[in-house]
Symmetry: C3
Amino acid sequence: MHAERRERTSLAVLADLVGGCVSGDPSIAITGVAPLNLAGQDQISFLANPKMARNLADCQAAAIIVHPSLKGCVQTPLLLAENPYLAFAKILTFFEVPPHVGQGVMAGAHVHADAIIGADVTIEPGCVVCAGATVGKGTHLHPNVVIGADAIIGHDCLLHANVTVREKSVLGNRVIVQPGAVIGADGFGFAPDGEHYCKIPQVGHVVIEDDVEIGACSCIDRGTLGVTRLSRGVKVDNLVQVAHNVQVGEDTLLVSQVGIAGSTVIGKHCIFGGQSAVAGHLKIGDNVTLAGRGGISHSVDGNQSLAGLPAMPHREWLKATMTMTHLPEMRRELKQLKKQVDELQRKLAEDEN
Amino acid sequence: MHAERRERTSLAVLADLVGGCVSGDPSIAITGVAPLNLAGQDQISFLANPKMARNLADCQAAAIIVHPSLKGCVQTPLLLAENPYLAFAKILTFFEVPPHVGQGVMAGAHVHADAIIGADVTIEPGCVVCAGATVGKGTHLHPNVVIGADAIIGHDCLLHANVTVREKSVLGNRVIVQPGAVIGADGFGFAPDGEHYCKIPQVGHVVIEDDVEIGACSCIDRGTLGVTRLSRGVKVDNLVQVAHNVQVGEDTLLVSQVGIAGSTVIGKHCIFGGQSAVAGHLKIGDNVTLAGRGGISHSVDGNQSLAGLPAMPHREWLKATMTMTHLPEMRRELKQLKKQVDELQRKLAEDEN
Amino acid sequence: MHAERRERTSLAVLADLVGGCVSGDPSIAITGVAPLNLAGQDQISFLANPKMARNLADCQAAAIIVHPSLKGCVQTPLLLAENPYLAFAKILTFFEVPPHVGQGVMAGAHVHADAIIGADVTIEPGCVVCAGATVGKGTHLHPNVVIGADAIIGHDCLLHANVTVREKSVLGNRVIVQPGAVIGADGFGFAPDGEHYCKIPQVGHVVIEDDVEIGACSCIDRGTLGVTRLSRGVKVDNLVQVAHNVQVGEDTLLVSQVGIAGSTVIGKHCIFGGQSAVAGHLKIGDNVTLAGRGGISHSVDGNQSLAGLPAMPHREWLKATMTMTHLPEMRRELKQLKKQVDELQRKLAEDEN
């Protein structure tokens, strides 16, 4: 259970919270956040895109979060912030994410006598915490979460319903896992014996560092012998596959339905678009962006924007795909040109004789 | 638990059920449905595709559901129906889907004292229904389903094992959810602060209207501030991703592994083939069909059939992809032609001198 | 719970286990397995790729598994094996996978009085085994597994946490299912009635034969009337979709995020790369390899290697995609050539006059 959410504060307090300035009456009361078109007279709204400033005129909000360049654009009091989207996130958190209040191990949860449970946790009905597992202080396990033997969950984590964390997995602090995600399943490793496949036991584990978030039904496989690692601040969307022994660098984003094959090492601050993929045993530099549905099949240096399969610079891909629909026409023209050139050659030969 | 399924009826009753006519003896007894090649002498079978009529000769079935145009094609009694496939669906439902008989809250289920539980429900062992949640009359929760706080489940719904419905989600009536699906997980929203990402709390919810079906391990994310909506009659296959703030129109089909990015609005009666995708913040008209693996990256009008990435009219895509394998040959020919044309130009210049 | 893992043996015993020979002292003690760069002085390591033999010099391992052709390449004792990777798998299994020791039905598990439970099983807390289900001897159900009514689970199976096996599904022996997988969900079958869709009840079932492994959050749908079958030895990675009525032949591999559409029949010893797909109602021969992201839309004979969408021979696809980036340049050249040829034709006509 959560404590009651914050119900009312002044515009001045919110400006202070986000390091911004007030333009207008700083004492006006704010009770929550809403979109521009829905905000009521005691709510704050925000304008992420300055191009949409014309929409501000009809806004009923008590105040609007905008970039300082828009100061004076409307009568409504403004909260001027260099990064309005970030300010919005922080104010939304202030109103809507109350601190967790531990309810302890609730009736219907199964916590092994040899598990180590920190202070102020909530472990809801149907959870199973196996022998040797650790659940850090302030962590909240929603119903039917399973924590395998000897797994370690840090403090202030939030694991939603039906999440599975297999044995020996290690989660840092403030890790959030959406429902149905699976951490530490066996990687896909089989040795052919000429006829059948022999399973290679997957005896490594998974390390999820601080401030990582993992989406619903995403799968982070354990290492074969070593470790699969999501570094600090990595954000993983829903239905993403991270195979065994993969390493993902800090603050990298994996959007929905991405697949990262085994043993690949990905740098920091990368963004992989939806349904994109990276083959196995590759090295991807820092600050690489791969467009949705892109596929990387060779190691690539950092600081570039790629698209397509096989992945190429995003601009080249845009040009190539724009030409795609002209392919049949190009083929016809090519045939026609060949005829014309043959005819020209024939004529010229005749003329010469 | 379900009641016993229907065990025996006459061909006449079945014809009545589906609004069809009998050709042959209407009193013959039917005990069930089976495919043409497996049907026994007391079962009814069906022919969806008239081109397969030659297969009817060897059929042992008591009767066959066919289109009226096939009347008299075999000796076997026929059930003549304008839409044989639909008639098959209804007769299969008659024999195989008995009405739900509520077993109440079973031992081992955890239902919060503040939850509202309708009449004739079945809530199986391991289910957790949180505070403030509503479960409508006649609804069946299979084992280990989790219903979050203040969620509302309509009447006559069927939620299979290990489904998660997060807080404040709203499901209509007769909604079916296959095992492992997740409704109401947080959308993928993070504001960059220049170095790291700050989570944007996802405080909206999900609305699933009447007669929607959601496949196994599919994920329907909650809105950021507002609503993610699947309209009446939408059918979602397995492992599908529907991101935050998406709106899907009535009777639209999302086939397996489809991904719909955030805030996109999809019309009615669309069909998205397997592994296809739509980018975020787009508007897709009614009656749009997107072939498997297609990818839409711009808003599109209704009433068209698309394919490819980026999506183009299906026919153009077929032509373009058929040309694909000729690309290396085209490139060679182009080089050859350039040589020939250069040579011709050279010769012509010589001749002129 | 598992018994303690094996802790110490001699190199000779391991050579015997894998049918290999010792080069060096056969009596040296081995306590486990580790990668070349991490192995300690009492561990065995392995060299899968002979090209990496130069890495052996610095290896601290007690012994190394290598191909017989590398005999004598270093001072370290060697275990010579024709298939070093397979020998590694077997030795890793010897040390790390102790035999299962049945703990019985544990407190907090819900096993129906009419279920049939074999000897030496472990059924962990939160599991639900429904009426008429069978759990074979030696099988281990991790927490919160749900076994539907009349399902049959063979002996020595291992079902990880939060797995769902729906009613009437049949699993053979030694089947392994990773967390969150769903076996026997309804296939995606709806009959249009002109306006809406009418659900076609999915009353068939799933058969999983011996020695199959299924990855985390993968979905194997039940047949509509008949059977969906994964034959002996099939290995399925995470987040894979196998639709209703599909048949997959022995020892075929489906890598992560693959989608197989309904009623398709796949041969033996095939390999489908990550995110690849096969359309419905097709027949795929034995020994077909489809590269990652490939898509098969027509039935194909066996013994070939395919790639691309639509799938073509892998070599052709490589050539075609290499040409892709040259498309815009080709189009420009084509236009230029047309101009030149037109000019030549004009000149030639002039000359002739």
